[in-house]
């Protein structure tokens, strides 16, 4: 049994050492919010945090990881979508097909942790994830909302979403 520290818990699973972290997360641990898009670290749909750093999990073999490293996936970013980046994303209705957005959000969260006042140049350099729907301008706008203090209303973009699971307004 191998062990990894994921979203606050040490989890055990069986997988060969060359298995990329992505597939362990998705298929051994059932954390399917992290997506497969290319397998060659080009698209970023598989982005997770390892010790706070945005990492493309599709090319990270689990043999290169220990249970001391803290892995965070979209499921662990917040319990209820309340991370400021997630809130800004929903407020601006960034996603279209949505498939790349877990990776986008993880990349943005890591960027903003490193550079809370991220500039356009910072965004261009850090946000190299691919979105075929072309949501890029909203991705940029949402990051700026957080960089400016996290209140989507300040950007005149507040719209209220309803959590489809609970019916409560988020």
């Amino acid at each position: 049994m191998a062990q990894l520290h994921v979203n606050g818990s040490v989890l055990e699973f069986e997988a060969e050492g060359d298995t990329p972290l992505l597939w362990v997360l998705r298929e051994q641990l059932g954390l399917t919010g992290t997506k497969y898009g290319c397998g060659v670290a080009q698209c970023g749909a598989c982005t997770v945090h390892i010790d706070g750093e945005a990492t493309r999990s599709c090319v990270m073999p689990i043999s290169a990881l220990t249970a001391k490293q803290k892995i965070t996936t979209i499921e662990g970013l917040s319990k209820d979508g309340s991370h400021p980046v997630q809130k800004a994303w929903a407020a601006l209705d960034v996603p279209q097909c949505g498939f790349c957005q877990s990776g986008m959000i993880m990349a943005a969260a890591a960027l903003l942790k490193r550079k809370p006042k991220a500039t356009d140049a910072d965004i261009d350099a850090a946000m190299t994830n691919i979105c075929r729907c072309g949501t890029y301008n909203r991705v940029r706008a949402a990051i700026k909302v957080v960089a400016k203090g996290g209140d989507p209303k300040s950007a005149g973009l507040a719209i209220q979403h309803v959590n489809p699971q609970t019916g409560s307004k988020a």
Partner: protein, 732 residues
Amino acid sequence: MTNTTRIENESRRRFMHGAAALTLAVYLPASTAAGAKAANAANPAKALEPNAFLRIGEDNSVTVVSKHLEMGQGSYTGLATIVAEELDADWSQVRVESAPADAKRYNNLLWGQAQGTGGSGAIRNSWEQLRKAGASARAMLVEAAARQWQVPAAEIAVANGVVTHQASGRKARFGELVRAASELAPPAEVKLKDAASFKLIGQRAPRTDSVGKTTGTAVYTQDIHLPGMLTAVVAHPPRFGAKVKSFNAAKARAVKGVVNVVQIPAGVAVVARDTWSAKKGRDALTVEWDESAAFKLGSEQILDKYRELAKSPGKVAASGGDAERALGAATRTLEASYDFPYLAHAAMEPMNCVIRLDKDGCEVWNGAQMQTADQAVLAKLFGIAPERVRINTLYAGGSFGRRASKEFDYMLEAAHIVKAIGGRAPVKLVWLREDDMRAGYYRPMFHHRLSAGLDGEGAIAAWRHRLVGQSVLAGSFFAGAIKDGIDFTSVEGASNLPYAIPNMLVDLHTPEDIGVPVQWWRSVGSTHTAFSTECFIDELAQAAKKDAVAWRLAMLDKHPRHTAVLKLAAEKAGWGGPLAPGKAGERRGRGVAVHESFATVVAQVAEVTVQADGSFRVDRVVCAVDCGIAVNPDVVRAQVEGSIGYALSTVLNGAITLTDGKVDQSNFHDYQPVRIAEMPRVEVHILPSSANPSGIGEPAVPPLAPAVANALAAATGKRARRLPIATDMLKA
């Protein structure tokens, strides 16, 4: 509809809590479990289901049943908005779930007896249908309240999910009226609202899928995991048309996790306990291919053939006056030819499909655009009645036409694999990015040749447009629409050129000996016709020494919608005014294009900056769109923004090329989509309209490339005639 087919796409219960998760070998969308629970309950909650499109629960929930796929274009949100508007529901009580495959109840009204999503038609074909569905439910709630309160129905008002009789002060939420209303027959006729009283339509309502798509809980086909499910990765032939001659699976079977290796028509499938094992198994497999029927030409050879074909007349797609004679008589003639490569859709979620055979037939998990065609094909393959093929339509991680699989390629792979293993386990077919990139079903390569003649006053007297390229409709569900050898999707945008030109001829060559599978790709024929026509018009304007906008407007007398969007885009972009100069050595330019597709008209003005080495950036795109009533203007804006990004990839890098029949590209490193740093500023202006909604998922794609090329011409004097645009030609 059984509970198992009712997959709610909104959310998935998160149950993985620490090590406890390890005991769970199986994960299912929560709604399946919840649905089963509800079915087992002794006293199931009553629901009002006045028609196939909505269900109102005693818990006040309004569930809109979407016959259309949500592949990113916001159709769930738009469809629900239409229902909620006529129902006078509160947006917070509205949810969306996908309909089961059913050609009778859920057919696309633009397509006849087939369910499907495409051609930017989800809102267009559902508009009246869903307004009536909402209004009908509203009338039943009102009637139920009138009977209960013993007041005239005409005195009852409904707003934000509350039914009110003002005089008596009585009020009820929808849920309180569900039992009584469900005893009533739906009204035979309903009165629809005046547009003036719309409360939701025309406003920015939040998308119904944003929460799921920002928390990782939205469920795609890639996320389905069924009890005992196996995962398959397929070894495909290196060339189109090749078949398996023989294979050696010994090493593949030795890979830990590999369960089986089976031959299917498309290749050899490695079936394993998980994706990584299946992939390693495929890596270990050796296959010998029979290439006797394989297609072996390269892109340049195909293009040579097309150029040769373009020298002779094709089949006439449109004509007026006498173009040949007028060309001969013209004061001045211009010619230009344009080349377009194959394009992969390259949706973020590579194609995949889950199929399970069971005692009831077959159950499918897919995010596909043409459910009932899929259903019929699977029924035939498995030898069962179509209604025994139960399709769960999940969110698609993009599609752009790819998941409207005209020959059912990826779905049939999954079906053949599950059949080959005797249905002993559910199978998830996984295409890796390389499989997806090289599978074909591309936007076809096209070659266009245009000639025009100007008269003494500088007006266009003659226009001849010849196109050469494969038919998308051939071999598809829509092949019947090919008339007199003309696939209208090959010439759309060219055969209906809006400009008033007295003599015009559009003809088409449709080569049938090119073995590269082609398919509809976001905006289909307009992906190439908008480029050639709008670039050529621009070149003619320059030759006639006319302003590109004024020149177009002069020829658009009979097209008020074109005129309106062109004027609006030009005004908002500051057309005619000075463009801020670039830094030293930079050249800047502004260009325009206008195009109609899917009953929507879009004009775009692009601004570019070109460096001395020819590299360029698109700085700003101003877009004006007439899509009829904008059900949700913010979704319209998002579609325009996204379409501009999607189209820009075809300008900068997008090309699938072949060498000796093999596809050169394999993944995103050599098929580079636009990324955030390349994305221009986009400004969207929606024309006010009282006309019924028209398409919006595709129509903003076509004008982008010609607007950019025209801007580059303004900046550099060089006319791009091939996509993607080679920066070499733009060097100072």
